[in-house]
Symmetry: C2
């Protein structure tokens, strides 16, 4: 399935979460990821993410679609994270 | 149509952009909005957003879907911006 992931994570935990999410999805903006992922891999990703985040302070939202073609993406301004290579 | 909007905006401009986007969509996370919007209203929103942002530094991504039912949303952790009322 196709997934958009957005998070709002406390500063202390955000680096770890970024590295974690990049293992599963494409990083497209500061705290936004997208990509194709299986149900099994998504469950694994969420399970590990729960361990990283503080569920009383942090937020992670997933938008799931069976097919990427149902979504039309438009980028305005900077196309790609220029910091994509610094990690 | 149903729209998800995510932005990464320089600190000096982010307050203005937040206020602007909230006029059109629902604020669901730090820099994430969603909602039903017409094509005409969306064009108006993007046009004004371009005037607020620095297109060489800032980024705004729109995911558009004809129907919200094609997307399944899952929230992990904090459900709503606790700062929603401070503006």
């Amino acid at each position: 399935m196709y997934v958009i992931l957005v998070y709002d994570i406390g500063e202390k935990r955000v680096g770890k979460m970024l590295k974690h999410c990049r293992k599963y999805l494409n990083w497209i903006q500061n705290s936004v990821f997208e990509g194709e992922i299986t149900e099994v891999k998504l469950k694994e990703m969420v399970s590990i993410a729960r361990g990283i985040m503080n569920e009383e302070q942090d937020s992670l939202i997933l938008f799931k679609s069976r097919d990427e073609r149902w979504l039309d993406k438009q980028v305005i301004g900077v196309e790609r994270m220029s910091t994509d290579t610094f990690l």
